[in-house]
Symmetry: C2
């Protein structure tokens, strides 16, 4: 249940002579073992998550493995944790991070279900934004062939969340309709893909207008610009009775709107309070507003409307590993069948963690924001060689290079598109302002 925080090599003496010898040998090859860790030192703004270089290497305990982390996923819970509004965190300082992907480098005592060299995805309540982590094996999931580390780091939290909301609580069935807020975000993208695995689902997705093209490509038949339109009205234009499922990561008044927008027998799943995140720091006004607007429902309201209200938070399911494991198994089958595929928005180095958080908090992302502990060229070469050993056919190296090229191209294209759209928008705004001014003058006359 816990990720290794401290420098075990310094604190704990080795118990076996062999281990000590191996350690020495490793030390000889790599003169000084260090690893990067992103630590939350105090609650507050983006600058409160700091890069620290730790010495030595953590040692996996019985039942644990040591994982060299290649990519980490960013989640809303990390942002809430930074601001001090996430209650599932130990006392500070603490390393953040609920998910990562990497390679098993060492096995703790009694570990038989994982091998050195295994590529794994890791899920934990915190502590995974580090270059090296020790973790119990039942928090690790083997990555399928062809999955990149970035995809691996974008898989667990978003797809488990979307799956359990849609299929466990929502009980999504053919011919139903779903409203997905923040449909271009990590969970949103996963939810849209999962909806597409069921026949004839009408998907409404909210996102700012600049992301609509992307939403349509992903399968959102009705993208809604929540900034310029009332999304309730937009949904009712298409589906007068409302929708069968609303996925609500917003909280506050949007939750009330969602409840009213449900069809009879409809289900509202509240899984966040993104409306709280209005600034870098904990916003007392937003908190107070949210408190007053906090959604509450009575038995009578539910009965007379035939409705269902659910709350979901993966961070509170950490004792339900059996359930989680069965969901991951289903999701990996869908991945192998090509039915779902994580969408990466941007990759940031550990050093750029502030920019990464801003990207997500300001809702600029389309897909997942990823943190990469370290990716100099030599390292990439080395990783590729190690992977090649395991894969025998050295496919890994080629894939990694191609993917990097592809990502770079994709990024460039996307940026160009974004810039073009932004320009167009600004032009439109200017025109609108001028028109408004003219109208105002006319009215004065």
């Amino acid at each position: 249940m816990k990720a290794e925080e401290s420098n075990k090599a310094e604190e704990q003496p080795e118990t076996a002579a062999e281990a000590a010898a191996a350690e020495e040998e490793a030390a000889a090859a790599q003169p000084e073992t260090t690893y990067k860790s992103l630590l939350l030192s105090a609650h507050g703004g983006y600058d409160k998550v700091k890069l620290q270089v730790k010495k030595g290497s953590p040692v996996p305990k019985a039942g644990e493995v040591l994982v060299r982390v290649k990519a980490c996923g960013l989640n809303f819970a990390d942002l809430m944790a930074r601001q001090g509004v996430y209650d599932r965190l130990p006392s500070l300082p603490v390393s953040l991070g609920m998910e990562c992907a990497g390679i098993v480098e060492e096995l703790g005592e009694g570990v038989t279900d994982r091998q050195v060299g295994d590529k794994v995805m890791v899920l934990n309540r915190f502590g995974l934004w580090q270059e090296l982590v020790t973790i119990q094996t039942n928090h690790t999931f083997l990555m399928p062939d062809g999955m990149s580390f970035e995809e691996g780091a974008a898989f667990l939290v978003n797809y488990i969340t979307a799956y359990m909301i849609l299929f466990h609580f929502g009980n999504l069935r053919p011919n139903q309709s779903v409203l997905i807020h923040m449909a271009a975000g990590g969970v949103g993208t996963a939810a849209v893909q999962l909806c597409k695995t069921v026949d004839n689902i009408t998907i409404f997705g909210t996102a700012s207008a600049s992301k609509h093209e992307n939403l349509k490509e992903n399968g959102v038949l009705h993208p809604i610009d929540y900034r310029s339109n009332d999304y309730v009205e937009e949904v009712r234009k298409v589906s007068p009775k409302g929708v069968d499922i609303v996925m609500d990561p917003l909280g506050g008044t949007d939750t009330c709107k969602a409840f009213n927008l449900l069809k009879p027998m409809g289900t509202l799943v509240i899984y966040g309070a993104a409306n709280l995140l209005t600034g870098q720091k904990k916003n007392i006004m937003a908190l107070a507003k949210s408190w007053w607007n906090q959604f509450s429902v009575t038995a009578m309201q539910l009965i007379s409307a035939n409705k269902s209200v659910c709350g979901f938070h993966l961070g509170h399911l950490d004792e339900e590993l059996e359930l989680i494991t069965s969901v991951v198994s289903t999701l990996l089958d869908l991945y192998k069948q090509g039915k779902i595929k994580p969408k990466i928005d941007t990759m940031f180095s550990f050093e750029q963690v502030g920019d990464a958080m801003r990207q997500m908090q300001e809702k600029k992302n389309v897909g997942k924001v990823i943190l990469i502990p370290d990716m100099p060229k030599e390292e990439a070469e080395k990783d590729a060689t190690e992977e090649a050993k395991k894969d025998a056919k050295s496919e890994g190296k080629k894939d990694a290079k191609e993917e990097t090229k592809k990502d770079a191209k994709g990024e460039a294209k996307k940026d160009a598109k974004k810039d073009a759209k932004k320009d167009a928008k600004e032009d439109a705004k200017k025109d609108a302002k001028e028109d408004a001014k003219k109208d105002a003058k006319k009215e004065e006359n």
Copy 2:
């Protein structure tokens, strides 16, 4: 959407000469056409539902059929309606009754999906406790071969309710656990049978001790006597984490207990407030108590516990006929496969409606309480002959007779068992009291 209340033959002039002629002919054969109707004249006790004999015969409008009712089902909503705590009723006087089964006797204009002689089950918000009803065809469902009218009158409300609670809101899956309150009642019996259609469901069922043998026969592994035991404790003994689904027809504090008894990802479905029905008349104290104890839940409580709360009321789904029809179709398949079968507790004549309501309100029933409009011997013969015509092999008559015999035998046996148990219980009580007295005396000394 509406059942025919008034005497159409008297109030509305016939529009076609043929119809008038047919009417006359019918009148000649049956010197005076009358039909029985159970009317709620005012809110209050059992005596407020009165038998009235209406003259003439209601005439089906376009899209409607005239049904000769052979059996009616009794539901909690009828009891609530009598007491004035059911808001889905038009102004008084009104004929009660949400379900019945009978034979189509006449078709309204444009009806092509039903034929004279069809045996049908009927669902409506009210108005079905009458010997003759006119009803839109989409409120009627063809009875499968071999289903008796009593079964037909016990099928729709209970099985639709149990099915939608367990499979739409509850999303019941193999290896889960369910707590069913009032497990020996109409919905409870249906729910137990439906749970048995899924692999390895752990069923907890509450009922008074005298009904436990019956619950076990039906498939309830863990019957709980809620009068002498704390059901929460009893469930936790077997399932320390709680259960996946609680079906709650009780309301008040039991709803809070149910919420706490849910596992993570568990679902509570509230579908009644039987706790309100503490006496014959509307109980102001019970209402007040229920008001103060009214269950209410916030978004934060749901999220931090990963739970779902739903409200269900079939009476509020009367505009969702397409959905209902698809559920009935699934249920009829299960019936034909022998997986579900309505359990009849007792049959009462229309004249005994007060006793019928008392049987249910005092929770004496095991299975469904049925009202029979009229069943003198001659009538039974006639019905059987008419059915024989349609069935060609005259199986109907034999079945009807055999079923009647079987029911009578079953009733007699059950009564004998009940009496024996009651005696045993009273003896046990006496013994216990005497022991207690002795103990008390000893302590005094």
